[in-house]
């Protein structure tokens, strides 16, 4: 017998069992696949907070399961299959590298709903979702531009992929608006989570004169490095990292997945789930700005909050022209707003950033 047939019959047996229980008695089972440990204090930690929020919201009506530290590739495919076999109704796969495995498994389980974070491949039972982190980056950039005294802002990049490049551009544009003399120094860590490497990167940037360090990696190691150096400010990444407030952490970008996870679980329970592509920002509450501490002067804080308001309401888009590309060619004319397609695949720096994107 082919595996697909076996899987289908197993799924059918489960379906029959469910029906036998009389409607409403069976719990909705929601699975989460994590790329890091739930204690990373950043990316996976926030996804897990979303999972806990789902449990809290629906109580006994749901059962959630998760597997952490799942490598991207065949292991992810196995873990997702296992969750589906165990009767999951909805599975969130929370890393870009889970894209093809999610699609593969979704084909075998047409009745199970899948939600893949930060990817671009969808199917009838696969949705994608991501957050407009770059909106938060604009506010960070503004504060960074105002706060730096050395005019050097350090930036720890994870991988040179569109999401990260978008963040660098957004932060840079708004730092330059606040302070025309600001320069960005970018270090690529080639990791999402590696406290030792992140700490090294932060130290290198601080030695090169950076007094603001932005990060697109998930650990709190750069915060610790900044605290040790003194007089260097940082921002929480993915999570609030409030344990480093009020200095060096002066604010943060928080991924708040809870509202989305609750809404999607509810849709599955009510039978209204449909495949969609969600890209939400500050307005929808998917991106949160952590408290701006007193280390930031009151006027700068007020400007930052005003910027946040205008982005949240939709009055202002962080990528509004005139913006040139790094080579000086025109990207956005005066007043023109970037379209989502270009943003999604962004692979160029804007004018003023030095250095090349690694290839």
């Amino acid at each position: 017998m082919k595996l697909t047939t076996l899987l289908t019959s197993a799924a059918m047996a489960l379906g029959l069992a469910t029906a036998a229980f009389a409607a409403g008695h069976e719990k909705t089972k929601v699975g989460f696949v994590y790329v890091g440990p739930v204690g990373d204090g950043g990316w996976t930690y926030e996804h897990n907070k979303g999972r806990l929020a789902v449990e809290e919201e629906f109580g006994d009506a749901v059962e959630t399961v998760f597997v952490e530290n799942v490598p991207e590739g065949p292991d992810a495919e196995r873990v997702m299959t296992q969750m589906a076999l165990d009767g999951a109704d909805l599975i969130f796969t929370t890393s870009f590298g889970y894209m093809d495995p999610t699609i593969n498994v979704a084909k075998k389980f047409p009745d199970v709903k899948f939600e893949h974070a930060t990817g671009y491949k969808r199917a009838d039972n696969v949705s994608t979702y991501s957050a407009r982190f770059y909106e938060g980056r604009a506010i960070q950039g503004h504060i960074a531009g105002k706060m730096t005294k050395s005019n050097i802002v350090g930036y720890i990049g994870s991988y040179p992929i569109p999401e990260v490049i978008r963040g660098i551009n957004s932060a840079f544009i708004h730092a330059r608006k606040a302070n025309p003399d600001v320069q960005f120094k970018i270090v690529w860590a080639y990791t999402w989570f590696d406290p030792a490497k992140e700490a090294d990167a932060a130290k290198v940037l601080i030695e090169q004169g950076a007094d603001v360090v932005l990060q697109h990696t998930d650990s709190t190691a750069p915060q610790a490095a900044a605290q040790e150096a003194g007089n260097v400010i940082t921002f929480g990444q993915a999570s609030d990292m409030a344990q480093y407030a009020p200095m060096p952490r002066v604010s943060s970008i928080i991924d708040d997945w809870a509202p989305y996870y609750i809404a999607r679980t509810k849709a599955v329970m009510e039978g209204t789930w449909e495949s969609t592509d969600t890209w939400d920002g500050i307005g929808a509450g998917m991106v949160g700005i952590g408290e701006i501490t007193d280390a930031v002067p009151a006027d700068v804080k007020a400007e930052a909050l005003a910027l946040k308001e205008s982005i949240a309401s939709g009055a202002y888009h962080p990528f509004t022209g005139p913006i040139n590309k790094q080579d000086g060619s025109v990207w956005l004319a005066d007043g023109e707003v970037a379209d989502d397609g270009t943003l999604a695949g962004m692979n160029f720096y804007v004018e003023g950033i030095e250095g090349d994107i690694p290839q």
Binding site: L3, V65, V67, P74, D75, Q82, A344
Partner: protein, 360 residues
């Protein structure tokens, strides 16, 4: 006073009993650990060891055992040849990456041409990539006497940089909207290392692993070269007198282990994984070192050890999801298994003596 005394002859009984005792001790202390975490210890261990093999969905997990175990066995067989002779290739992870890059590179270069020649060429390129990467520490050792442990290990990090560069640049999927990672070779029929019989998990990497086990067994048991390897490990001076050329042995052992690691990488990238991506390597090259020792550097032992490691990975993931055991607890559990095996292994060659030291 407790002390260890070397046995005049290694105990045959203990050689057999050690793995069994190790498993029992792991069950006991692992169970204790799970109990402290507030989980049912018996159920935890049943979930890890029983479910994948005989549980309700064993029809799915058994093939997965082959998929997860094959690269481990393939790499570990190669490593064991060198380890037996005292040649330490610690960089199989790098050779695994280079094999995948060379092999996938050939496949992607032919895209989208369909030909039965593509996959065999990829296999050759994969073997070559791993071999070349291992020849760097081999030649450096033979010519300049460098330490192959350091050189091969450092080359892992170089290979990782190559991998990142390839995923972001040369091999990036042109239809991937700027995201890193190559085309998926699973969707390119000529380059796809598909299952030979559907839903058995039996892909070419599994076949290669089985062939490697048989070859290694024959080599070590029957061939002159196998004798040279064993004698060099046991008594290097005696080996020289019996005409073993140490340089050639170094080139052979490192080259072979690199080639097998390269093949493992190629079979993985063209099959279960499908894409060259920044996070393609997940530590098979390092885990294989454990597998080699767990299998006592014996081909059949390695085969069993590889499957056992695969079982703990698969069962561990099931236990995480079904019982909420943390990933770290599973890793401690895996570590215990190795620790107890090595600990009990000691008693093959030593015995425990209680009482005062006798003065001769």
């Amino acid at each position: 006073m407790i002390r260890l005394e070397k046995r005049p002859e290694p105990s045959r009984g203990f050689a057999w009993a050690a793995p069994i005792l190790a498993v029992i001790a792991t069950f006991f202390f692992g169970g204790l650990l799970f109990a402290f975490l507030g989980k049912d210890p018996v159920q935890s261990i049943v979930t890890i060891f029983w479910q994948p093999l005989f549980g309700e969905f064993a029809f799915y997990y058994r093939p997965q055992l082959l998929i997860k175990g094959a690269p481990l066995v393939l790499i570990a067989i190669g490593l064991s040849l060198g380890f037996k002779a005292g040649i330490w290739n610690i960089g199989a992870e790098g050779q695994y990456i280079m094999g995948a890059l060379f092999g996938a590179g050939v496949g992607l270069a032919f895209y989208p041409a369909q030909s039965a020649m593509v996959f065999p060429l990829m296999v050759l390129a994969g073997a070559f990539g791993g071999w070349v990467w291992a020849m760097i520490p081999a030649v450096l050792k033979v010519k300049f006497g460098t330490n192959e442990i350091l050189v091969s290990l450092m080359l892992v990090y170089v290979a990782e940089q190559f991998l990142a560069s390839m995923s972001l640049g040369l091999m990036k999927n042109p239809e991937g909207f700027g995201f890193p990672g190559s085309r998926n070779l699973q969707q390119y029929a000529s380059a796809h290392n598909a299952e030979i019989v559907a839903d058995t998990g039996m892909h070419w990497g599994v076949v290669a692993a089985i062939i490697a086990v048989i070859f290694a067994y024959v080599l070590l048991a029957r061939h002159r070269l196998g004798f040279a390897i064993r004698v060099t490990g046991d008594a290097p001076r005696a080996a020289r007198f019996s005409g073993v050329n140490p340089s050639r042995l170094i080139l052979f052992c490192l080259g072979t282990s690199g080639m097998l690691a390269g093949l493992a990488g190629l079979f993985e990238v063209s099959g279960p994984s499908g894409v060259v991506s920044i996070d393609f390597n997940v530590g098979y090259g390092f885990t294989a070192i454990i597998v080699a020792f767990l299998g006592r550097l014996h081909p059949v032992g390695i085969l069993l050890a590889g499957l056992l490691m695969a079982l703990t990975y698969i069962g561990g993931d099931i236990a995480q999801s079904q019982m909420g055991l943390p990933a770290a607890a599973i890793q401690v559990f895996q570590g215990m298994l190795l620790f107890f095996l090595l600990a009990f292994d000691l008693f093959t060659n030593f015995r425990l003596r209680l009482g005062r030291v006798e003065v001769a």
